[in-house]
Symmetry: C2
Subunit: 210 residues, 2 copies
DNA sequence: GTGTGTGAAAGTATTCACAGCC
DNA sequence: GGCTGTGAATACTTTCACACAC
């Protein structure tokens, strides 16, 4: 039976589940209805045992001798990932990067509702960057008070990113996705993930230099 | 003695080195000249043993009882990461995201030279998005023939990303940073890293849903 | 026969704890 | 006394290999 005790699931498994899900949605749209762990592994660039092990933390979704039903597995993965509901998202920082993210269509598709964008620049406030009129950063706390925000995406300049993150945390936002190139501090209760161009480039540099 | 045999260095260490480097540069600009592994660990959000172990793969850079000289450690980390030289970078896909990345100032600062941007949209070709006039994607192979490109950053729509990556690989580009939300395939000789908004959001969703 | 689910084994990564040097 | 560098211990991940179900 599905244990569903998420504390016991390896951290490395979680991002892989999302990749399985996306690949399966692509496979579904091609009209394929059944897939083996080997086929999926080939598509996603891993090995079959990894997939079976990852899935086994959540339950038994396959049929021995046959494989997995694509529709069923998509539903199960959504459930595993908490995607059978919607999450409210805001973007703080409405520059090029924030706008690029706001316009990303896959956003809404998986149940992420972009309900607000913020910026400090009064020339930007009021314009539409993909999620209705951009609000002034001064209205951040008021907005957070009136709306339940689950995820805040931070795309501000790095000079103000830590301050913005502190304000988000203080206002009770439970998770943050930070694109500013700083190593943000936060208290343990907040879920923080960092996406960092300069780290990615330096990592490539390391392997190029071998 | 510094072993410098990069195959033996844990994959998880490499991105951490880049974070140590960035934090040290910040610390340097505040005028601090010496730092202990504990202080750096607090700043970067890890533990001192992790830092000492990571550094130990490359050599002995500290002084017992004292700590690390900030200037020296910065130089050593740059050497470890292959940053004591410059790398040529192109961006393929000059939409909002590509433009945002092109305008990111930290880019040039660490020795990454943005030498070209490409797009398929003829309305975009010829405009300046932060790295001189955008070139037509039709001229990609010609450009790669005439310039040594070390890193290609892919920010195209996902529908064409795999095709673009295949062309980059065929033309001999040794490393790729892919922002398109696809699981790209590639041959083993190419270094590929993926940055993926939807995986990040789904990972947050997983932990929010606990 | 085919392919899943899963303990056990192998392989990696992190943390501990202390000898050795300042 | 303080802090690094590192083997040893622990924790975590991936891979193997096979019993079991279809």
């Amino acid at each position: 039976m599905a244990p569903s005790r998420k504390n016991t699931i390896p951290a490395a498994t979680v991002p892989r589940l999302s990749q399985y899900l996306r690949k399966l949605q692509e496979i579904q749209s091609r009209g394929t209805t059944t897939i083996s762990s080997r086929q999926l592994a080939d598509e996603v660039g891993t090995n079959p045992a990894q997939i079976r092990k990852d899935l086994s933390y959540f339950g038994e979704f396959g049929i021995r001798g046959v494989g997995y039903d694509v529709d069923r597995l998509i539903e199960e993965l959504k459930k595993c990932l908490g995607l059978n509901r919607s999450w409210n998202v805001i973007i703080v920082g409405s520059g090029k990067l924030g706008t690029a993210l706001a316009l990303y269509r896959g956003f809404q598709k998986q149940g992420f509702n972009l309900i607000g964008m913020f910026d400090a620049d009064s020339a930007v406030v009021g314009t539409d960057r993909g999620a209705g009129p951009v609000l002034s950063i001064n209205k951040l706390e008021k907005f957070l008070n009136e709306h339940e925000v689950h995820i805040a995406v931070v795309t501000t300049p790095s000079s103000v990113a830590q301050e913005v993150i502190d304000r988000l945390v203080a206002a009770g936002v439970p998770s943050i996705l930070n694109f500013a190139p700083i190593r943000a501090h936060k208290d343990k209760s907040v879920i923080l993930r960092q996406v960092d161009l300069s780290t990615e480039l330096m990592t490539l540099s390391f392997y190029l230099d071998k």
